[in-house]
């Protein structure tokens, strides 16, 4: 009898130990659509995994903190998750400046961190080369520039009529826009010397800054006039979602209609596709809703998200948040424990087919060892739908070239 009691209590302790959840702490800007949808997608992933029995026989617990887009709040959230909630892993991220404030704190704990935000190269410098525990899934700003070159090269081969020699980059004057421009300038210097990815493609580059509508600006006409005078083959603007339609309507107003009109904001305004101006606009992005027609995992994610939250994923941070959780959990599964070394090793080895479109595999970037996605996609708005043009394996439509212009809009 007594032996039985000991055995039962031992078993019970084992079950309790096994049932103790693996805690993941997420830090996101919940008042912004990117952060809110990323948090939703993370909750969805956690729910799916727990419904399937968790990982290593343990359930997952997700604790989400709002960074309010304020650096000091985002940094304090790291301390809270680490010391009060005692989480095992950090995930999340959006704004680069919030992340800059978090990096010194993250370095203090050295817990495994899998980050989906913060594209600024300054963040990579701040993290440094020795941070084995740090995994960055979002492409750095300079990686994005490289990937477009690869994309356009492939496109010019497939569509010989497409010419991309003169590029005009309109960039918002904040950190996001200027670092985009800087990376293009660096690539252009390399291209002139005959090295680098843009070689043979970019022959001339010109930039024009503007003040984003998101920060109280929104008059682009002076800059657009300069662009019109320059007459580029490819016009790109790097700004925010609030700039999208005013930029188009002002381009229409001054009659500026380049052969390729490209936008590279992190998100698009609501109903952009329904706006007649949008037709034929090319965009850079990590993801498009249309991917659900060519990728099973993207379809699964889309349907599950819509069913769970009764809204459509509107930004790529939704599939990215979902990826964030699954990628980490797959690694834990492979590692067979949540021991740091084993999980780091596993994170570096696994390949994860992501709803963002593409296989996620860690490789080194300029400074850090653990970089995830490297490429953006080249997409195009066609009749209200974001279609994938490149990579061709995910293509959902052919490129409309040249940009149809304004006469029918």
């Amino acid at each position: 009898m007594r032996r039985l009691f000991v055995l039962v209590s031992l078993l019970l302790t084992l079950i309790v130990l096994a049932e103790k959840p693996i805690k993941i702490g997420a830090i996101l800007p919940l008042s912004d659509i990117t952060g809110r949808q990323a948090a939703n997608a993370m909750k969805l992933a956690v729910k799916e995994i727990n419904d399937a029995g968790g990982v290593l026989g343990r359930p997952i617990e997700l604790i989400v903190m709002d960074d309010e887009m304020k650096p000091e709040k985002g940094a304090a959230a790291v301390d809270k998750l680490a010391t009060v909630d005692k989480v095992d892993f950090f995930v999340g991220g959006m704004s680069s400046s919030v992340h800059l404030a978090q990096i010194p704190i993250l370095k203090k704990y050295k817990k495994i961190t899998v980050w989906i935000g913060a594209a600024s190269y300054k963040c990579e410098e701040a993290v440094g080369a020795d941070s084995d525990w740090y995994f960055h899934l979002h492409p750095w700003d300079y990686l994005q520039g490289e990937s477009y070159a690869i994309g356009w090269k492939a496109i010019t081969e497939k569509y010989p009529q497409v010419k991309i020699e003169k590029i005009f980059l309109a960039y918002e004057e904040g950190a996001f826009g200027t670092s985009s421009f800087k990376s293009y300038q660096d690539e252009f210097e390399l291209a002139k010397q005959g090295t680098g990815v843009w070689t043979g493609l970019m022959k001339d580059l010109k930039g024009g800054p503007f003040k984003s509508a998101a920060l109280g600006g929104g008059d682009y006409r002076a800059m657009l006039l300069q662009a019109k005078q320059y007459d580029p083959d490819l016009f790109i603007w790097a700004g925010y979602d609030a700039d999208a339609i005013p930029m188009l309507s002002q381009a229409k107003e001054i009659g500026f209609s380049p052969k390729l009109f490209v936008g590279a904001p992190p998100g698009w305004p609501a109903d952009f596709g329904k706006n007649p101006l949008s037709n034929g606009v090319v965009l850079y992005g990590m993801w498009a809703p249309a991917l659900k027609d060519v990728s099973a995992i993207a379809k699964h994610f889309w349907d599950a998200y819509v069913q769970e939250f009764n809204e459509e994923p509107a930004t790529y941070f939704a599939p990215l948040g979902y990826t964030n959780i699954y990628f980490l959990i797959e690694a834990i599964k492979k590692a067979g424990s949540i021991d740091d070394k084993a999980v780091i090793q596993a994170l570096r080895e696994i390949e994860y087919e992501s709803p963002v479109g593409g296989v996620l595999k860690i490789s080194p970037s300029r400074i850090i060892k653990n970089q995830g996605f490297r490429a953006q996609k080249i997409l195009q708005w066609q009749n209200g739908v974001q279609h994938v043009i490149w990579p061709f394996e995910y293509a959902t439509a052919n490129l409309i070239y040249p940009f149809p212009g304004w006469s029918t809009k």
Binding site: I33, P246, S249, P269, D271
Partner: protein, 304 residues
């Protein structure tokens, strides 16, 4: 008098020179500057009469834009025409906000008024954010992107409405203040509330009506801007700040000065933006001119 005349002549001459040398900067600056003035006028009115620096000013503009967006999206209402609906709705909202918050603290320290509008601003912005998310909305009508030829250059026609509207709104305000009984009462309250109360003016009522009317006036800028801007929760903040700047540059109680200041700053900004490679400095010129004008007038003793 002669000195003022000289100043205006100088200013006009400067404008002509700018128009000849950089016509695009001149027209763009004129259009933008008029919009700034159009938004600043109600703020100056509230400041002049109620003595309230309204930090939630721009957020009422945002609210007006969202109302117009709904009218356009649900009922296909023309943005400019929707003014007639936005104005009364904003009037009621302004009245409700005034009665429930500002009026209750009128008698305490004037900085408490500033703080309460700060609280109202946060609440409005976050309420808008939770109702419509941070994703921008847009209203598209083809006529807002038409261009006309002027003196040999092609220029966007729509934003000249800003110029016309700011002049019209200014004239209406001036007329109301001078010719109507309410306007005269409001003017007297702005000059000296205690004196006005003694001669039997209902100061409380004047405050209420002024605040609500000024809020309703934001319908003009909201409906005119609608087809040209993205509508999102934080849109208002920068416009509140620009309105403060214009009011300070014009000097308290100087309504025509707001139009003048707006156009000056708009053109100064546009000139810098038109110089390739230097457009990042346009804010410096905007605020530099502002500081210089305020300091210049202070040294003449106007602000003492």
């Amino acid at each position: 008098m002669k000195r003022i005349f000289n100043l205006y002549t100088f200013f006009l001459l400067l404008l002509v020179v700018v128009a000849l040398v950089r016509p695009y900067a001149f027209f763009y600056g004129l259009q933008r500057g008029s919009l700034y003035s159009l938004i600043a006028l109600p703020l100056a009115l509230i400041l002049g009469i109620v003595g309230l620096l309204n930090l939630a000013h721009g957020d009422f503009l945002t609210l007006g834009l969202y109302i117009g967006y709904i009218l356009f999206n649900q009922f296909k209402f023309d943005p400019i025409l929707s003014m007639i609906f936005i104005a009364p709705i904003l009037f009621v909202i302004g009245l409700a906000v005034y009665k429930s918050t500002i009026e209750k603290v009128l008698k305490s320290h004037h900085l408490n008024l500033l703080l309460i509008t700060f609280g109202v601003s946060i609440t409005l912005v976050e309420l808008i954010n939770s109702l419509w998310t941070s994703r921008p909305r847009n209203v598209y009508v083809t006529y807002a992107t038409k261009s006309i030829s002027l003196f040999g250059i092609s220029i966007g026609a729509y934003e000249f409405l800003y110029v016309a509207a700011s002049i019209a709104v200014l004239l209406v305000i001036m007329l109301v203040l001078k010719k109507t009984r309410f306007g005269q009462a409001a003017f007297a309250v702005g000059q000296n509330p205690r004196g006005a109360a003694i001669v039997g003016i209902n100061v409380k009522l004047v405050y209420t009506i002024t605040f609500s009317l000024a809020t309703a006036m934001m319908a003009v800028s909201a409906s005119l801007m609608m087809p040209r801007v993205s509508i999102f929760p934080n849109l208002g903040g920068p416009f509140t700040m620009k309105s403060f700047c214009l009011t300070a540059m014009a000097g308290l109680g100087n309504l025509p000065g707001i139009l003048l200041s707006g156009i000056t700053l708009g053109i100064a900004e546009a000139i810098v933006q038109s110089i390739p490679g230097y457009s990042g400095w346009s804010d410096l010129v905007f605020f530099g001119v502002l500081i210089l004008v305020i300091a210049f007038r202070a040294n003449r003793g106007a602000e003492r």
